[in-house]
């Protein structure tokens, strides 16, 4: 289990002010990975704000975000939910033994055509 991070810390790391959110749900409306996520972008914003962080840290949702910034760009209030998801994800993978992607797993994921870019990106996103 991942112990909860304090809200303030996540807000500091992400630079996000969740109080700006007007709860319109456009982030979740535009999210391409919505169906794969247990918690959706708008929930990240409201749950971090209310300190309900542990479920987020223990959820696979943090690894489903594609960092495509659609939520950031389309948010009418400038909340930047993707940055908050990134902060939670970093809080998780930085902990000892929490790497989501291990070097040993990689060979099985590869095919002849996969670009290097995919591998480095995945490592940066999923591991310390």
């Amino acid at each position: 289990m991942n112990k909860a991070y304090p809200t303030e810390e996540l807000l500091r790391i992400s630079g996000v002010n969740p109080n700006k959110c007007m709860k319109c749900g456009k982030c979740s409306a535009t999210c391409p990975a919505y169906d794969e996520m247990e918690y959706h972008p708008h929930q990240f914003v409201s749950m971090v704000n209310s300190g309900d962080i542990e479920p987020l840290m223990n959820s696979e949702s943090i690894f489903k975000c594609l960092s495509c910034f659609a939520c950031v760009d389309r948010c009418p209030r400038g909340v930047e939910p993707a940055k908050l998801i990134e902060a939670v994800r970093i809080a998780v993978v930085r902990k000892q033994g929490n790497n989501h992607l291990l070097a040993d797993d990689v060979p099985n994921m590869l095919d002849d055509e996969i670009p290097q870019q995919a591998i480095v990106s995945a490592f940066r996103k999923y591991s310390k």
Binding site: L66, S67, D73, I90, D111, I114, I119, A122, R124, K125
Partner: protein, 263 residues
Amino acid sequence: MKLSYFPGCTLKNKAKSLDIYARKSSELFGITLEEIDNWQCCGGVYSTAKNDVATKLASVRALKQAYEKGQALVTVCSACHNVIKQTNHLMKNDTAIAKKIDRYINDGSMYTGQAQVYHYLEMLRDIVGFDEIRKKVVNPLNGKKIGAYYGCLLLRPSSVMQMDNPENPTIMEELISALGGQSIIYANRNECCGGYIAMESGELARKKSNQVIENAKKAGAEMIITACPLCRYNLIKNGSDIPVVYFTELLAQALGIKGDTNE
């Protein structure tokens, strides 16, 4: 004219044609792309976390080198461009982080985002000019219907990237028409292909890529062009039955540097 050039890891391996034709084509317009010395991989994705400093070092080194040479920095790969441009923006706007990074690099002068960063497409539009390109076309595309695929990295976050209207971009469409092709506008051209999720969840990548391909095809596209090796990989891997090529290949073909790109 000489510009600094950051090719990136993939362009040296799987996406060699993105790299080669970018260099060759620019020579035709009197622009030499000078590869940055000892460049390091940008990391593929930009980390937005304020406590993530180390991942920015490679980009800052490249930016700094370009700036010290008095040159703008050009990238072709969407991912590299995204990381480098966002890092540059951060250096310009967050002095605390710029200072931290300065302590790592420790070479006597702090970098604060002074370099100019261009994506190769921006270079074509803003330095060369599409009219100039039009004049140099020897093998026009004869009205071929081509859908530009931007993906997410080129355009977003738009306040930083500032390449084009993030919801209705025109830069690749203008290139296509300069090369004599017919650009096909389709709504999913700025939606994510799935990106690195291909490693983790092939299913999601397939779904996203298919949405792009389907939308492009229904709009009438016979070919898709992209600036991103990962986009190209995802689209092809997930069964695109129309060709997906790098925009530089198309450019080189129209300029007479390369043979037909229709495989």
